[in-house]
Every structure is written in structure tokens, then in C-alpha cells.
């Protein structure tokens, strides 16, 4: 079964064809540049999707003329509403035009599916940490399409905290990769930034206090402490709480397998920290499947009847 997946939940326009849930036939992805506004402006992102999505769909169909599309899958939530609206509207029209069923997809489940898609023999249930610019959750994955939320952020997402701290240093948007690169040259133990909600049996996160703590620290210590040390210490505060809470959940729920997904899953320090706990089996997606894409949308859709 060949499924055409469409992703427009934020500022990336993705189309992909995946066969039988795991085999990538083709994919196209376009990312927008919102650095000039310091973040994604929903209406601008939506306009760009209107321009790019029909062209991408035409191109992927043209490149795969011999492939019969059996279904169309589109992300309808969560995300930026103007962006989602374009993807959903176009996809519904296109699916009706080619007379195939349409499947509504959840953006978060699509992210969580990434390590499963690249490791079909993965065991269920397992614990998944979804960590990105828009979301931070720990979920128990019962099957590709069935999850239970165990913990979530009560305010900022982890990736969002990276972006906002990056802005404090005028490092551009998105800030995560730049912060990580600079942090490599810093001492992550120089400053002990707060880890919020760091109690036993508390599976939720909070990053807005950490962000504020960094802001005040910079104001008071800018001339005394290097940018590298501040960013390294900040990064470690995020990584530390993400890893320890995920491990705590996995132990409490007796799951030996942990997957990590979302944009922040590409963070090298996060991956290193997880591997210190060597009594678990870890699955990270490849870097291209960490960020928003239509491949996992099309792959996951296969598992819905």
C-alpha cells in the first residue's frame, strides 16, 4: 500500500510516499526561513505552504508516475492553525480528486513513529521521549497508533527554551543547533541552573523558570562568565532533567526500551547522556527524521485501518 503523506503543521512543507508503513519511496521537504522575525509567524508560514504544497505534490507524483497512491494522510493537529488549514484543505481536495480515502494524522504520533519506522522489530510497550520546539512529552507506546501520555511540559517545550535562550545571545532562529555548537566549548558544570519539578514520581516538566533563570544570570554575570559556559550549563540543565525523568518513567513502568524523537532528539549531548544509563535499549531516529517531515506521517498512516 502506497500512502502519500502531507505535513504542514508549522513552517516545514513536506510530502512523501511510503510503501507499507516502512519503505520510503520518495520525499520532498521545504523549510522556511523565519530568522528575520525571530520565530515562525503563522500567517506567513501558511502563505508559503499555499505556494509550495501544490508544486511539491505535483513533483512527487511526476517522479513516481508508476506508483498508485492508495491513500492520502495529512497532519490535522496539533500545530499552527493557519498552517494546518492549508495542508488539510489541499489534501482533502486532492484525495477526493484522485478518489482515495483521506486519513487525519496527529503530528506528535508521527514524530513518535520515527524510531519505530526505522526499527520495525522494536518491542512494545516502550517509553518514548518526544522533545521538540513545540512539544515535550513522555509517552508509553503500546502500538504505532496507541500511546498514553505519562508526562508533559506545563509551560515551554524544551526546544522552545533553547530558542529563547539563543535569542538572549542574538544567535538567530532556530537557536537549538547554534546553542549546542557553542556549548561544546563550555563547562556545563560551571553554573547549576534549576531543574524544575525534580521530584520522585513527578513525570511532568517545566522549562520557563530555567529560561528566566538564564536571563537573570546573564544580566548579572555577563562580564564574569563566558557565553560558552552559560550555554553549556543551560544545555546540561535541560538534558539532565529530560534524561533523568525519562529513565525514572521507564523504571517505574518496567520498560526496557526507550525511543527519543522530535527536533531536540538530534542534540548530541542528549544522546550521550542517555547512553550513560546502559541498562536500557535506545532507539534514536536519523537526523532527517528528527525534524518535521511527511515521511513518518505516510508511514504511520499505514497502521490505521
Amino acid at each position: 500500500m502506497n500512502i502519500l503523506g502531507i505535513e504542514t503543521s508549522c513552517d516545514d512543507t513536506g510530502v512523501a510516499i511510503v510503501k507499507d508503513g516502512f519503505h520510503i519511496v520518495d520525499s520532498l521537504l521545504s523549510s522556511q526561513d523565519h530568522s528575520i522575525t525571530g520565530g515562525v509567524v503563522p500567517d506567513i508560514a501558511s502563505r508559503k505552504h499555499m505556494e509550495v504544497l501544490p508544486l511539491f505534490t505535483c513533483e512527487i507524483i511526476r517522479r513516481n508516475k508508476d506508483i498508485k497512491i492508495d491513500k492520502v494522510a495529512v497532519v490535522v493537529n496539533p500545530g499552527l492553525i493557519p498552517s494546518l488549514l492549508v495542508g488539510a484543505s489541499f489534501s482533502y481536495g486532492f484525495a477526493t480528486g484522485i478518489k482515495v480515502p483521506i486519513i487525519n494524522m496527529n503530528h506528535l504520533l508521527s514524530h513518535i513513529y520515527a524510531p519505530q519506522m526505522q526499527n520495525p522489530s522494536i518491542k512494545y510497550p516502550h517509553i518514548s521521549l518526544l522533545v521538540s520546539g513545540g512539544h515535550t512529552q513522555i509517552v508509553k507506546v503500546l502500538s504505532p497508533i496507541k500511546t498514553e501520555i505519562i508526562g508533559t511540559t506545563l509551560d515551554d517545550a524544551a526546544g522552545e527554551a533553547f530558542d529563547k535562550v539563543a535569542r538572549m545571545f542574538n544567535l538567530g532562529y532556530p537557536g537549538g543547533p547554534v546553542v549546542s555548537r557553542i556549548a561544546e566549548n563550555g563547562d556545563e558544570n560551571r553554573i547549576n541552573f534549576p531543574r524544575a519539578m525534580d521530584k520522585k514520581n513527578n513525570y511532568n516538566f517545566s522549562f520557563s523558570g530555567l529560561k528566566t533563570s538564564v536571563l537573570y544570570f546573564i544580566k548579572e554575570n555577563k562580564d564574569n562568565v563566558s557565553k560558552e559556559d552559560i550555554l553549556a550549563s543551560f544545555q546540561y540543565a535541560v538534558v539532565d532533567i529530560l534524561v533523568r525523568k525519562t529513565i525514572m518513567v521507564a523504571r517505574d513502568l518496567h520498560c526496557n526500551t526507550i525511543t527519543i524523537s522530535g527536533g531536540v532528539a538530534a542534540n548530541k549531548r542528549l544522546r550521550e547522556e542517555f547512553l550513560k544509563y546502559n541498562d536500557f535499549e535506545y532507539y534514536f531516529p536519523t537526523i532527517d527524521l528528527c525534524s518535521d517531515n511527511a515521511i513518518t506521517v505516510a508511514g504511520l498512516a499505514y497502521h490505521y485501518e
Binding site: 504544497l53 501544490p54 492553525i81 493557519p82 484543505s89 481536495g93 477526493t96 480528486g97
Partner: protein, 159 residues
């Protein structure tokens, strides 16, 4: 059969079906999910009988205009039914009515080559369905279709 779609009003979506140059069916739906409603309509349609689809590309409500245009673009590309995009300004200027459209929040859209002083106004101009249809019919006869790959809504700040 020619089908006209107007989704520029944020409160409602309008579908007019013309057969043999006469209005055959008129549907207006308020407060609904636009793409789901259009999909319910077109899933039941016989594509072989549709000569073209005319779509009002705006100006109007950003969200509803974009949703209706995006849906029709997807449908046209998938089904190969020709599409013709027409702006509300073209429809109104054809009918020789004043080129003023309600922009909401006490503002108006004005199209003119002369300078206008834009004032607070409660002017509202309803799109005349017959004028909309006559424009579509003319372009259909001349086979002046739009490409679904490049058809975009008309945004206010592009004017």
C-alpha cells in the same frame, strides 16, 4: 455543469451549481469546517459532468478564503477539472458597483487608480452570483483556466 465556490466570507461558504446556464442548486452553510463541507459535497459529485470550477480568491477572510482555495486547488490538481480563480473586485467592477468591500472591523477594501481616503465605513457589497457566473462562463468559453499549481488567494496587503 459549472460549480462556483465562494469562501471569502468568514461566516459562511457558498456553493452554486449551474446546469445549462441556469442556477440549479444553491448551498450556503454557516459556521462549519470548510474543507470537510466541500469534501462532503465533491465526494458525491460526478466529475465527468463538471466542466469547470470557479473560485472566489478574495479579498476576504484570510482563513476561509485560504481553506476554500486550497481545497479547490487540491481537487483540481487531482481530478484535472479545470479551475478559474476570480477576485471579488473583478466581480464587482464588472457589475459597475462601487469598488468597496467590507474588510471587517470598520474598514474597507478599495480598488482604484485614484487616491482614496479610507474611512470608517459600514459599506458592504454582496457578490452577485449571476455576475460571478457570467465571468466564469466567458473564461470557460475562451478556455482561460488557471493552473492549480499557481492559483493563490488574493491577500489584502498585496493590493
Amino acid at each position: 455543469m459549472v460549480i462556483l465556490i465562494d469562501g471569502t466570507n468568514s461566516k459562511s461558504i457558498k456553493i452554486n451549481v449551474y446546469k445549462d446556464n441556469k442556477l440549479f442548486l444553491k448551498k450556503i452553510k454557516t459556521n462549519i469546517n470548510i474543507y470537510e463541507y466541500l469534501d462532503k459535497f465533491f465526494r458525491k459529485a460526478d466529475f465527468s459532468k463538471i466542466m469547470c470550477i470557479g473560485i472566489n480568491i478574495g479579498p476576504g477572510s484570510f482563513s476561509s478564503t485560504r481553506a476554500s482555495v486550497a481545497y479547490i486547488v487540491g481537487l483540481s490538481f487531482g481530478s484535472k477539472i479545470p479551475v478559474i480563480g476570480v477576485s471579488g473586485f473583478d466581480i464587482l467592477s464588472r457589475d459597475k458597483k462601487p469598488l468597496i468591500l467590507n474588510a471587517g472591523r470598520g474598514r474597507v477594501y478599495i480598488k482604484s487608480e485614484d487616491k482614496f481616503l479610507i474611512k470608517e465605513s459600514s459599506v458592504y457589497e454582496e457578490i452577485d452570483d449571476n455576475v460571478f457566473f457570467s465571468i466564469i462562463k466567458e473564461r470557460l468559453q475562451k478556455k482561460q483556466f488557471d493552473s492549480p499549481l499557481t492559483l493563490l488567494p488574493l491577500y489584502m496587503d498585496d493590493l
